[in-house]
């Protein structure tokens, strides 16, 4: 969709440079004249928000790394040193720790938007799978980042997660020891987690580059799920239309982010993580950060450890197969009345699993978690494949422009 660049440099220097490295042309074709469907709603602003969050996390993280000490006897105090003695250290740390949560909040909105509007369907399968890889890398990065303050939850969270690998038959124990660099979570583990926590964001940035590239090849999906037919009628230029809409979406998002950072900075964290890691004292209740809770609930719901671990990773891996699990030719839930109901049930199931993941294990929470875990997998493995065969969908609009005109101008932007 991006096509060849129409960029013509205005200055002599610009022309000289462009004929040697056409980078301004690339920017021009990707972010200025790039055609975006004119019916996009505010759920489509999360792509820009996520790009912003990635940069924000890298910038704040690099600053924190200048003052942090990845050594098991000093890590906890060095974080407090950042909080107390470094100029605006508290600000950078709260921006970074809450930024992780904001990043995940945005990515969940982004993923559920893709699910609702069928953004994973042809021709966007590769785009979607790249997104799943980014999500996996984000989870690994966030998990290792949470270990760095070396509080009780850091230490015991790391112990629980690294122990998952010991469930692998035959080599499991060796894999765990290899991951730890010791016979338990220890200084060596902290060191390598710090190193990887610094590395992975740049790998994310690389995959994000591929994700955006793939997006610019196939073009954006849109709320009506019909492809662009006439660029003149169906799309608007990225700048100023999408740029301004994204900017407004980002500004509103930043208000939420700032609320957390400045007024409730410790709300999403566990108080126990303000206690220095202690291998001799197991917390009464080990919980991961909120964004990993649904998967934690699935893990705990399965009595067999190996199967639990398989389900945990399977729950994430299934996302990559969505383009082929969903057999319906219609993309948007707008024209899929039954799918729409199942979609919201699925959202409720995920929220329910998240809540259960935060609760202590007893008979009733285990039963509920098993039920919801079944629903989670059933959505992908039973509902989506069958629904495409039986669902009676509504008629699709002929084009994006027709969909916009049919509803009149105000309805073109439902989020307003």
């Amino acid at each position: 969709m991006s096509g060849s660049s129409t960029y013509v440099p205005k200055s002599a220097v610009g022309r000289w440079f462009e004929s040697r490295l056409p980078i301004m042309g690339l920017v021009h074709s990707s972010f200025i004249v790039y055609p975006t469907p004119r019916n996009l709603n505010y759920m489509w602003t999360f792509g820009a928000i996520l790009s912003f969050m990635l940069v924000a996390q890298i910038v704040t993280g690099v600053i924190l790394a200048m003052h942090y000490t990845p050594e098991s006897t000093m890590a906890f105090s060095s974080v407090e040193h950042i909080m107390r003695d470094v100029n605006y250290g508290w600000l950078f740390r709260y921006l970074h720790s809450n930024g992780a949560s904001m990043f995940f909040f945005a990515v969940y909105m982004h993923i559920f938007r893709g699910l609702y509007y069928g953004s994973y369907k042809a021709p966007r399968e590769v785009l979607w799978i790249l997104g799943v890889i980014i999500y996996l890398l984000m989870m690994a990065t966030a998990f290792m980042g949470y270990v760095l303050p070396w509080g009780q939850m850091s230490f015991w969270g790391a112990t629980v997660i690294t122990n998952l690998f010991s469930a692998i038959p035959l080599v499991g124990k060796s894999v765990s020891i290899w991951l730890w660099g010791a016979y338990a979570v220890d200084n060596a583990t902290l060191n390598r987690f710090f190193s990887l926590h610094y590395l992975l964001p740049f790998m994310i940035a690389g995959v994000v580059g591929l994700h955006v590239w793939a997006l610019h090849v196939v073009g954006q999906n849109n709320p009506d799920g019909v492809e662009v037919k006439n660029v003149e009628r169906d799309t608007v230029a990225f700048t100023p239309y999408a740029t301004l809409k994204d900017a407004f979406g980002l500004a509103v998002f930043l208000i939420l982010y700032a609320w957390f950072v400045f007024y409730i900075p410790n709300y999403l964290g566990d108080a126990d993580n303000y206690n220095n890691a202690n291998p001799l004292v197991t917390p009464a209740h080990i919980v991961p950060e909120w964004y990993l809770l649904p998967f934690y609930a699935i893990l705990r719901a399965i009595p067999n450890k190996l199967i639990g671990v398989i389900c945990l990773f399977g729950a994430i891996a299934l996302l990559a197969f969505l383009p082929w699990l969903d057999t319906s030719p219609v993309k948007s839930a707008k024209y899929r009345p039954v799918f729409r109901v199942f979609f919201w049930v699925f959202v409720a199931v995920c929220l329910g699993l998240g809540w259960l993941g935060s609760q202590e294990v007893n008979d009733s929470t285990t039963l509920a978690a098993r039920l919801l875990a079944f629903c989670y997998f059933a959505f992908f493995l039973i509902v989506l494949p069958l629904l495409g065969l039986f669902e009676k969908t509504k008629p699709l609009p002929i084009s994006i422009a027709d969909a916009v005109l049919a509803k009149g101008a105000p309805a073109a932007q439902p989020a307003e």
Binding site: V252, I264, A271, N276, P283, Q413
Partner: protein, 325 residues
């Protein structure tokens, strides 16, 4: 603690175990020998790697300490109320620390808590104008009353002590120079108090935890309310290690000597236990989050800026998009 007294306490342990039943949640005065041992204050139903046997000796350890009879089943099963919600000057959108309260709180810390609890902050931070706000001269004089171990040895290679200066970290309690020494006495080491007010919580439960995050009704003083409640929770007439608000009620820390009049107040505030508890809790809240006032001040500016900025962007966006409709 286990390591110190395990053998000696084995019979007592067994007796307690029988008396309380294995299912009792009171077994959480957990066996930790570190300054900040969190779960020690929480019920530990999950099997600790330190093994299932660990909790029991720890409990037994608390018993000899009390010098009283072992608690009965009734005590252990008593109702577990949530800490009452206090009014704190530092709560809310514009809340800041009350300087006079922090100064009183520091006095309580110095005269009572510091006997056992370390507070790893430098003297100079007590000058913080948004915190206790002591004068430079006061802090110099205060620091000089402490004997501090010098960082490096003298020219004879000897470690030596000298009077403190404002940049020194407040030294550990003289009676318990390290956590192990304290653990040997109390069963578990008294935690360092520098982040204590942020390291404690009680469960709010659904749906309250959602309201706690919302503007105007936000509740971020869970830790302070918990600490204050613990200090007021020693209500058992005979057992100084029984606490109304502590999960399971058996707490390793015996009742602190803060009866009415124990600490002299010079600013007219009634010298009552409840005031001591509240003042020292406010002081600890400051010690845990000394940048709170600056954070909220900057936060207000950021919020005002972002709301105006978002508003302007909205109208700009409308203007541009209106042309194509």
């Amino acid at each position: 603690m286990i390591r110190f007294k395990k053998t000696a306490l084995a019979p007592a342990t067994l007796a307690l175990l029988l008396a309380l039943g294995a299912a009792s949640r009171a077994d959480d005065a957990a066996p930790a020998a570190t300054p900040a041992a969190p779960s020690a204050e929480k019920p530990a139903p999950a099997a600790a790697p330190a093994t299932a046997a660990a909790p029991t000796p720890a409990k037994a350890a608390a018993a000899p300490n009390t010098g009283e009879t072992a608690p009965t089943d009734v005590d252990a099963d008593a109702e577990q109320p949530s800490p009452p919600r206090q009014h704190w000057s530092f709560s809310g959108l514009f809340g800041t620390y009350d300087q006079a309260q922090l100064q009183r709180g520091f006095k309580v810390y110095r005269e009572v808590c510091s006997t056992c609890h370390r507070l790893s902050i430098p003297f100079r931070t007590l000058e913080d104008p948004s915190g206790p706000g002591f004068s430079e001269a006061q802090i110099k004089a205060l620091a000089a009353t402490y004997q501090v171990t010098n960082d490096s040895p003298n020219d004879k290679g000897e470690i030596f002590k000298r009077p403190g200066i404002p940049s020194d970290i407040i030294p550990p309690p003289e009676a318990y120079p390290n956590p192990e020494a304290a653990a040997a006495t109390f069963g578990k080491a008294p935690p360092d108090m520098w982040v204590l007010a942020k390291a404690r919580k009680y469960e709010r439960g659904f749906p309250w935890f959602i309201f706690d995050a919302l503007p105007f009704v936000q509740y971020q003083e869970v830790g302070a309310d918990y600490v204050d409640a613990i200090l007021n929770g020693y209500t058992h007439p005979k057992d100084p290690n029984w606490n109304l608000y502590f999960p399971g009620h058996k707490i390793a820390m015996p009742q602190p000597p803060i009866s009415d009049g124990a600490v002299e107040y010079t600013d007219g505030t009634p010298a009552k236990t409840a005031n001591y508890a509240q003042d020292v809790t406010a002081f600890l809240a400051w010690a845990a989050e000394p940048t709170l006032a600056e954070r909220k001040k900057i936060g207000l500016r950021v919020m005002v800026f972002l709301i105006i900025f978002a508003g302007l962007l909205y109208f700009t966006k409308r203007r541009v998009w209106d042309k194509i409709h």
